[in-house]
Structure formats: structure tokens, C-alpha cells
Amino acid sequence: MVMKIDNYEGASDEFQWPQNPQVYDDLIDSNYSITNLSYQRHHIVVSGGGISPKVIILTGHFTGTNKLVDYRSLARHFQESQKLKKLYFESDKFALGIGKQSKKTHQGGRTNFIDYVATYQTILGIFLDDTQQTHTDGGAHKTNAGDVATFIETISGNVTSGSTDITVSDSLGNAYLIPKASLTTGQAVVISFVSMIDSGSGVFVSTYNYTTVAGSQIKTLQVTAGFGMIQLAAARTTSDLTIVNLDGYTVKFRNGWSA
């Protein structure tokens, strides 16, 4: 399997490793906090379950006539930290995140090689399928075939009635609404799980539940339950989702994997 890295949003800019990294460190770290009690022999654990986002360390080399070009391609992706990247370890699964560091080594005896170490910061603790699944309102429901709960990437559709709120909820206790005051019948609504947004000075910030109505971002999405991030549990179908007042909606997600 050839490792590659590509943009998550916008135009594709794929880079394939000519040679996969020889070593990478992919630590699965459970998401919890632990509090020590002074002089006690027990600790306090606070956990919401799941896997913490992680830093993935890649160690490898480039060789051949394009070794420098290859390294530069790698470095470019890792420097574009204002863009979310998909880092593929398998041909069909990627880690969503941003490049953190890259460095190359100069070894006098290995003039035919460029050795590098690169670190990649994921924003999710899980891996996502390369293949995006789509469920359309009224169509066949799709299943999260992965082994962990996954995030719904986009929900899009047209406003059924401008006098009713749009509500979305899952079976894991998460829900949000878009108030009718922000809606007009027939307008196109797109709710994205995450997007990098310019803060105004060329500095980008990850924005969750990024929502547009008729192409313009709105600020009136209100979380009404849970963390407000719509998810689909492993082995569950999109029938677990409840979407109101959105005509012809489509739900897109990727299977979620722990590794």
C-alpha cells in the first residue's frame, strides 16, 4: 500500500510516498484525565471514552533523482498547517489532521538518500474511510461499517419551510437546531463537521459545525443536547439520525476506525 497525503477540503493536491516511511509511531491514547489525590492510594478518573487525537511520527527516506523534490512535496504539505490534510496509512483509510513538523537529515555516507522525520497532528482520534458514504432522504440507509463511532461529515438539503426550525439529532445524545429566523423556504443549507476558516488575517481556525445557508455562513446554529457533534455509532445506520425541515437532504460520512 502506498502512503499518500492530500487536502481534506478544496482542490486535491495528492503526494504519494515513493517509498513508504520505514517507521511510524501511531499511539492510541485513550481520552481521559486522571487526578491524583495527595497521599491517597486511589485516583480520580474522568473520561468520556474514545481515543485522544494523536501525533503520528513518520520516519523515512527518499532516494533517486527526485528525492529532493519528493521531500519538498512532503515538507510543503506539512507546512500547510492552515489546511486540514488526509494522511493515508492504508489505501482506504486516513487520519484527519495537519502537518506539525518535518526535518531531513544529512548523512555524509548516504548521499543517495534524504532521511526525514515528520510529525502529523490529528484532530480526531480515529481513522476515516477514504470512501465517503452518502444517504439521501428517502433512499437506502447507510451503515457505519467501522469499529468506532464516526462523525457525520456533512448534512445538506433545502429548507422545507421558512417558518420552522431545522433540527438534527443522533442516537448518542447530540442535537442542534437552526432557528427559522435564519431560514427562508427553499434555501440551500450545508452543515459541515469541520472546516478551516480564515479568522480575518490569514490565520485559520478549525470551525466545527460550519453551517451555510444560501452559501453564506450563519452563526445561529444552537446546540441543544450533548456536544452538538452529530455522530453515528459503529454498525449503526443513518436511520439513527433525525433531520427535520430539510428537503431532499443528504448525509455524508465515512466509516470510523480505531486503527
Binding site: 473520561s47 476558516i197 479568522s199 490565520v203 481556525v205 450563519i218 445561529t220 444552537q222 446546540v223 443536547a225
Partner: protein, 708 residues
Amino acid sequence: MERLSGFIVNFTFGGETGTVPADGGFSYTDKLNELNEAQVKLIGSGSTIRSLFRLGAEVEIKRNGTREFFGVVVFIDTLDAGGIIADVRGYEWWLKEKGEYANSPWKATASATIFTDILAESTKLTAGTIDTGISMDFRAGLTDSFWNSLSNLARKTGQDVQVDYPNLEIDILDHRGSSTSVLVFNDGIEIRNLRFSQGYPIGNDVRVYGKGDGVNQIKSAVTSGQDAASKTTYGTIRHIVPDRTVMSQSEADTLADAIVPTTKDPTKIYDFDVINPSQSLIAGDLITLNSADKDLTNEEVRITGIQRGMIGGREFLTMQVANAAYSRLILERNSILNKLKKQQRDSDTFMQGSGNTQTWTNALNAKSGAAMRIVFPVAKSFVEDEAGNLRVESLTLDYDVDPYRAEYGTATMTGSDPQVQNQSGSATPLVVGLTGSAPMDIANIFNNDANNGGSPWNVGYNLAVLDGPPGELGDAGDEREYFRVNIAVRADYAGTGNDWFGVRWRFDKDGTFETKLLIHASEHFKGDGSIFLEQWFYIPYTDNSRISPGNLQSENILQEDLGWTLDFYTLFGLEYTIYCKVELVDWLHFHDDGNLQAASHPHTDGTYDINAADIDPITIGDDVSDAGALVASNVTIKLDYWNTGTSAWDNKVTIIPIPASLLDTDVDLTDGGTYPDVTGLWRVTIEPNGVTPDLVQGIVKMKHSLDN
């Protein structure tokens, strides 16, 4: 494993509400009887989300679906990459508005009514549950905010102020939270990092100092605010509580009694972290603490403050509790300073020592055109502050009009009446009036109404000769007599021819006729039978010179027994009828005085004077008396200012009571606060409308602030 809280942070601005991902963390408080606050941080944001972060934006923080905090953004820090820190005050922050407090001061009023009155003025929050409380006096000033008034009153009633964020109401509760322990916290199990602090009691002899200053300042009674048990254990600890809003001793006593339970015991403060922050506790709840190594066993404490939120992605809950009696939050430094400032402001606002009153009074008989006056100074040194502003708060008049008051008894003089001596000056008066009537003596001595014929003398024919008897009216030597002869002649002849007619008077004088030609041959043409001649003659009886100027007698001789003759003649001897009457008239006669008299006339004093020996002492008796009835029916009140430029009184205000009133109090002289507008000499005049005097009394009262 217990479930942690689910938080939702919503911002509302411009009518739009959005959920904000407080990725930088957030916190909010729930404090007992204090203002709450919150803070929300974003590490980065786009402009769309940032547009919700505006001053005045409303922030809602829900925990597990329930609104636990609602407030207003009052401060914003904006950082790189859209980082934002918003400081939020609880919605009760709007109670910083000042009220009119139209019903202040409340006297012997149910505290629930006072709370309701105060909250009725707020435009942001309404009254929720108001527990009964007590009956009391209370005062709120125009510079006091609603929150401070509520807090002040709650402190005196011993009640708690609760902000109901879901309904945006203010509740006044006898005890906020559970009055029995709702949870047991065991150190090392439910809580950690417990710190227990204790201090000496603040006071078990509480004295409240209220309105006023000096010896007349309102003070609580020495029997109020006392706790004997605490004194026994810790000695007498006097705690002075200044509160200038207290305006009666009963209120001061009530406050002292409400304070001492909170100050009589050692103050105990407990700080700790709650391991499971997802606790549904509120400030005011009682909980029980156990901590063996801090000697706490079933220690019942009251939550005075809670702070919770998310920091570093982790939920936290910090709690501050105090011994149940001392249930006031130990404040953070800034809050303490603000409380001190508030106390000082109350002191400044309600300070009474700088007020002063002056009165001026007068009582005087007065009438229309002669008003009673009260002159008074508006002294620069008294009523002007250091900024030169006139600090007169009120200028009023009390007045009363009563029947005239006479203040002297009867005047008496002993001794004889003074006599006038010497003479007045001369005077020549006119004579006025009329003499008595006195007819002239007239004697008819001849009356002949017809005669004709005769021979003329001189020319023509003498028609007649009439002889008369001597005429004399008897007064020998009287030279005022005269003959009055009336002659009328009628031509009896027919035709139209002309003729001449004459008349001659003759009288005997010593045998000689003295003659006077009365009518000389008067030509006439009358022949139609009409009288052509009719005439009176007056012939002096005694003055010869008048009879005949050519035959003068040098002396006036009284002609006694004088005979006389009237000759009538005509030229042609035609026929005539002659009517003749001769009378003797004595024009000289006497009148009696009639009503003649000297006209009234002045005399100069001349040498008139009073005999000094006749002037005796006059004594005036001591007595007062009131007239039987009032004369006036109304008054005119004026306020005047002495204009030093024109040296005249300028009238500033004129008041005529409607309806008419002869007695009134607190009459406003300021014309709605306009006057006095300058320092100097002023006066009030009260003029009754009676034409005779009444007794007018007035008191001018001025209240002003006094700069020291």
C-alpha cells in the same frame, strides 16, 4: 462512573442566537447575595462567530439543558487569530439602574411590599417569589441602584436575594437553597484539596449607626444586636455597622439583630475542589463536610459561592462555604473593594450632617398697602458650595392672619384741661348773606286817567294842567325822595295828520315854579287812537340841580310841602287822552340785618399758645386686645430680591392663594426650584387685602446643604 455535565454556551446579539464553541474554556458563578459573573474564551474564531461577541450581547450557559447563568457581556478582549475573552455579568447587573423610589421613605411597611415597589421600577427583571419578611422602615435614595437597595433591605430582613435566570426574576427568600443538608462531602472521596480557615468572631455586640451625625445620629439600642453566649466564650466584641440608609431606631435595632447571628461565631471558611463537578447544588444549600485530618465531623456549612465551567477541556467545580451563620461570601479582592466603595457611597449619599435649616419669623399688624415683611439673607458663606453652586434645597413659608392686635391701653391725663391764652391774629372777614327785606315807601299822590283840553304853553295848546298835592314822605331832612311820574297819551283825533305833544313838570318853590321839561313837542303821526307815548320819569324831590340845570341852586334844600304841576300841550290842540300817575318814592330806607353775617374766616395764630402751666402728664395704660373680627379675606405673598445695582427690591415671585387662604404652611416660594438663584438679601412680604389692619404672622424656612 458518574456522568459529567453537558454545557452549552449561547450568545445572542442583534436578535440572533448562536452556540459558541468555548474552546478556550468558560466559567460562571452562583453566589449567595452577590452579583454573578462569567467568562468565555475562544482560542480562535471566524468573523461570523465573532459577530456575536459584542458589548451588551446576552450570554446563556446551560448545564444539562437547564439555564444556570444568563448575563450581559460587559468587557471584551480580542486577540490574535480571532481569539476572544468575554467578561460577562449576571443579568442582575441591570439592577444597577437607579430608581425614583416614589414611596420612599417607607414607614412601618411590610418588607415584601417594599421589595415589590423597588422591583416594579426595573425594566429588565421582575419580582418573582417574595417571602413575607417583616414590617419596617426603609429609605432608598435616588443615587442608589436597585441592586443595592434590594441587598440593603435583604440584609435588614435577614433574607436572601435569588436571581431566577430562566424566568429573569428576582426572588426574595427567607432562605435560599435547602435549609437542611443536601449532600455529604467526604474529604478524599467527593472532595479534595480542602482548606479550612477560621477566625475570631467579628462581633457579638453589634451597633448600627444610621442617619444623621453627632449626638442625634440614629443608633441601635444597646439591647439589640447582642449574643450573651458568644460574649461568654469570646468576650464582648463590639462590631460597628454604619448604614446611613437606616432612618429610625427600630430599623437600626432590626438590622443589629439580623447581623449578630452572622457575626457572633468564629468565621469559618472552607475551600475545596469537588471531584465530580456535576453536582446540582446552588449557593445557599447546606452541606455536610467530613475531614478527619481537619477535625471536621458532620460540619454543617452553607454554600456561599460556586464557580464551575470548563478549563483545558475539563469540567471543574469550585465551591466556597462558610459556617451556616456566617453565610456571606468571602469575596474576591475586587468584590471586597467594590463593597467598600458601596459603603462609602452610601455614606456619602445618605450623609445628613451637611444639611442645615434656617428660619426667620415676624408678626406685625398689616393691611392692604402696608404689608408685613420678613427680610432674610441667603448668605454666600452658608449656601454656596465650593463650586459656587447654590445649595438651597427648599424655601417655604408658614403664615397666619389673625384679627388686629392692639398693644396699648387707654391714654389718660390727670389735671385740668389746657387753656388757650393770648390772641389770634387779625382778620377782615367778608359779609355774606342778605339783609332783611325793606320795601321802598311809595305814596301814590296822583292818579288821573283822563283829561284833555287846555292851552299850550310856548307853542300850541296847553291841554291840561295837573296839580298835585304836596308830596312828602315824612322824613324831614331826607334827601332820598323823588317823584315817579308815569304818563301815557293817546291821540283821540281821527285822521293821519301830524301834531306835536309836550309835557312839562313844575313845582312850587317858595312861590316860584321850578320847571323841568319832560317831553318837548314830540312830533307824532298817530291819529289812530293808539297810545303813542308811554313813559316813566323820575324827578328828584329834593335836589334842585337836577330839575333845572339852568336854574341851579347851590344847596340841596329839602322841599317840604312841595306842590307840583304837570303841563300837557299840543301844537294844534287836537284831542288826546292823558293817563297820568304820580307817586312819591322814598328810595332811601333801612333794611334789618336779615341773615347778614361775617363769612367764615381764618385767623393767624397771633400770639395764641397753651398755658404751659396747664399741660399735665398723659399716661398710656398697658393692655392688649384683639379686634372682634378679621378684615382681610386673602393675602398676596411676594418674594423680593434686593438689587444692589438699582438699590431697589426686585419682585421675583408673587403668590395669591387660590382658593383664598389666611393660614397655610409650607408654601413653596421657589417657583418650582428657580429661586433663590443668587446670594444676597431677600425678603418675603405678606399683604392682606383688608382696608384696615389685621395681625399677620409668618415664618420663612430655608433648608440647604452646608459645605464644611
